[in-house]
Amino acid sequence: MNERPLSPFLVYRFMYTMVLSFAHRMTGVFMTVGALLLVYGLLALAGDAATFEQARVFFRHWAVQLLMLGLTVSFFFHLSNGVRHLFWDIGWGFEKHQARRSGWWVVISTLVLTVAALWMAVCGGRGV
């Protein structure tokens, strides 16, 4: 029994890969809120003009806009890190230096995709 492995928090020193790992779960749970927002938007759209207007006011609110920015970042992070997980699942990139390097690729990919989506949102809003 004494030779069984210790829990990670007892033996690991802090690494940024730990933040990525926990953030994957945090963003996943957080995006459940996004799924409910999507359903609310769809229901409002399926209703009449008044329910659409109500939803438009709701989604235009700065707090909801901020929430949706957070959801966008979460979405791209979870997607990028999810691809990393899928590669691990087929046995690729398990070495420590590979896992650390792919962690940075997740951060870069999240930033690039978020900037692309924001750029589209800003330009799309002006009818470009």
Binding site: M1, R25, G28, V29, M31, T32, A35, L36, L38, V39, L42, L43, L45, A46, A49, F52, T72, F75, F76, L79, G82, V83, H85, L86, D89, A116, A117, L118, M120, A121, C123, G124, G125, G127
Partner: protein, 128 residues
């Protein structure tokens, strides 16, 4: 060579034989969400300011309605599986754990039914 705990080896029940299905469903819905999610978020980002009529017309297009329905269902399924894992890992009080899982199931099922109904209503209303 057995890798189980001493108690587990004595009892000899083997595995619960139900973990692989969950794991596989999570990976499969993740792979489905890659193209569907990218399509959804960029479609949303580039159309944030559309009028009600333009949104209805966009969703009513057959492939858009189908893609949106698939995205919604894959998203909620993946979300349900993910929330389940997080609850099972972090909620240790058994009654609270079971209650949370049941609640999560109801919320996800309701969201799926409501969202699907909204998409179909928008699509079929436009067809007539």
């Amino acid at each position: 060579m057995s890798s189980g705990t001493p108690l587990g080896q004595v009892l000899g029940h083997g595995s619960a034989k139900s973990g692989t299905g969950h794991w596989w469903a999570q990976r499969l819905s993740a792979v489905a969400l890659l193209p569907l999610g990218l399509w959804f978020i960029f479609a949303l980002a580039s159309r944030g300011d559309l009028s009600r009529a333009a949104w209805l017309a966009f969703i009513a297009l057959p492939w858009h309605a189908v893609a949106l329905a698939l995205f919604l269902l894959a998203l909620l399924y993946h979300s349900y599986l993910g929330v389940q894992v997080v609850v099972e890992d972090y909620v240790h009080d058994r009654p609270l754990k079971v209650a949370t899982l049941i609640m999560s199931g109801f919320v996800h099922a309701t969201a799926a039914a409501a969202g699907l109904f909204a998409i179909l209503r928008i699509a079929f209303r436009a067809a007539t």
